[in-house]
């Protein structure tokens, strides 16, 4: 690990600005600093600035940036009104990691692309302009949506996928004041500058995530991974589905492990709304979703996997259809 100076903020104002890189739980940043992928010269410990509460906000909830993932998933209001969020958090990492990981740090966690995490490879995200060894390389974990010739990495987290389906927003504080960004617009596509993961500019701090009023419905987070626990998603589906008089009235969907951001395609939800649930409808919606998908070789399997996962989730949410999605 490269040498750095350490400072401990006791209020938000000390944490804002480009003086130092914030450290919250440290579970991603320290990992990458040990690998010398991240080499900050100063760290600002933001664990003592507050922002560690979940509080009512309008008809919704405000989750402080320093709330630990484990506390968020255990919160009775989250469990009751936003089970999708609790489920997504519980599907990620391990209990020990969730005890440290924070709301803000989780949103800002970096890709798990193996080239990004290994010095001595070409990686535009780590070293702009150097190239991308994942293209044509080992790219089993990589994106099927929104990739560019500059970067094909995914955002690896689970929590943010649920937050995208829930249409949460991110509250940000900077030197010039505060702003709010929809979670769906918080992470970026790689475009030509993949070293930027999200819309935060230097010195800005996430202060909280706001959840809109609860919408009920059937809420499902399905994560497909190489082992049943303690592994990142190959693909994941976050879904909120409501039925009224035999028709789908709400279908808020987001997908993880498939893009540089939680993937949200409003056309898929629109194709479902107003219709009677059926396997044919689900297949059509899933086709619409994967229509624009593009594999990189090693990750081609994600396209049928995502398609079937969506169908399986829609079946579970509506109680229509069986368990076998092989023929769909």
């Amino acid at each position: 690990m490269k040498f750095f100076d350490y400072a401990r903020a006791t209020e938000l104002s000390e944490a804002i600005g480009e003086f130092a890189k914030p450290i919250a739980g440290g579970t991603n940043l320290l990992d990458l600093m040990k690998l010398e992928v991240e080499t900050p010269s100063r760290l600002m410990d933001i664990n003592h600035i507050g922002l560690n509460e979940i509080s009512p906000h309008g008809d919704g909830l405000r989750i402080g940036a320093l709330v630990r993932n484990a506390d968020c998933a255990a919160d009775l209001r989250v469990r009751r009104d936003y089970p999708l969020l609790a489920r997504a958090i519980l599907a990620g990492a391990s209990p020990q990691l969730r005890n440290r990981a924070t709301t803000g740090g989780n949103l800002c966690q970096r890709t798990r692309c193996t080239y990004f995490m290994r010095l001595g490879t070409r990686c535009n995200k780590r070293e702009p302009g150097s190239g991308c060894d994942a293209i044509g390389g080992v790219n089993r974990d990589h994106a099927i949506f929104g990739a560019t010739e500059h970067c094909i990495a995914t955002y690896p987290g689970d929590m943010a996928v649920a937050l995208a389906a829930l249409d949460a927003s991110v509250q940000i504080e900077g030197i010039d004041g505060s702003r709010q960004v929809s979670l769906r617009d918080f992470h970026r596509l790689p475009d030509g500058d993949p070293h930027l993961d999200n819309v935060l500019t230097g010195g800005e701090i996430i202060t909280s995530v706001k959840l809109p009023a609860p919408v009920g419905g059937k809420q499902i987070y399905r994560k497909i991974r190489d082992r049943a626990s303690y592994a990142f998603a190959l693909v994941s589906v976050a879904a909120i589905v409501t039925l009224d008089q035999g028709r789908i009235t709400r279908a808020d969907l987001a997908f993880g492990g498939v893009a540089h951001k939680p993937w949200h395609d409003p056309a898929v939800g629109r194709a479902l709304i107003g219709n009677e649930p059926s396997d044919q409808l689900f297949s059509e919606a899933a086709d619409l979703l994967v229509n624009q998908a593009k594999g990189q070789g090693g990750n081609d399997f994600k396209i049928p996997l995502l398609r079937r996962s969506l169908i399986a989730v829609l079946r579970e949410a509506t109680g229509i259809g069986g368990n076998d999605v092989r023929n769909l």
Partner: protein, 171 residues
């Protein structure tokens, strides 16, 4: 704001202070500065759980936090849970059930399980809870809740038996 402030905290009830190179992980501090060799380094990257200790009641990976970040905290390691003369209920159960082979993962397993039992008592849900509001301590639940602790020797069945036994003894 001062750069590199010291951290004052407690380890197994004993006051201590760290004010050196900020790069020191809590894990290296415990082993190399405190001489508490019970806590083990497996991967040093949050992937194995061998370094699990309890900080302010929660289990954490001591490899992914810094010594300087522990200011004001109460850290408990395997040495703080019991001693050879006075084993904790879980330590005793691991011996009774052979909850290990080489023993490398064991301190992490026991620290983790100690805090896990408390999480269950608080009603915390897990990924496998059918009802988020009413988790039942089935074998699947215990396995999922212990999945942050890998055992290279594969002593999992006996680890599970030891934890079950300790939970029943506590009731």
């Amino acid at each position: 704001m001062p750069l590199n402030p010291p951290a004052n905290f407690r380890v197994n009830g004993k006051a201590c202070r760290y004010s050196g190179d900020a790069r020191r992980s809590l894990l290296d501090f415990l082993r190399d500065d405190m001489g508490l060799y019970g806590t083990k380094k497996g991967c040093d990257h949050g992937q194995c759980g061998a370094c699990t200790v309890i900080v302010d009641g929660s289990r954490v990976n001591s490899c992914l936090t810094l010594a300087v970040m522990q200011d004001g905290c109460e850290v408990t390691t395997i040495e703080g849970l019991g001693s050879p003369e006075a084993l904790s209920v879980l330590q005793r159960a691991f011996v009774t059930h052979d909850g290990f082979q080489c023993g490398y993962c064991t301190p992490g397993q026991i620290c983790s399980a100690t805090a896990m039992i408390e999480e269950l008592a608080q009603g915390w849900p897990s990924h496998v809870s059918a009802d988020l509001n009413n988790p039942v301590p089935s074998d699947d639940e215990l396995r999922e809740r212990m999945s942050g602790n890998l055992c290279r020797c594969g002593a999992y069945p006996n680890i599970l038996a030891a934890i079950r036994d300790a939970m029943e003894a506590a009731r």
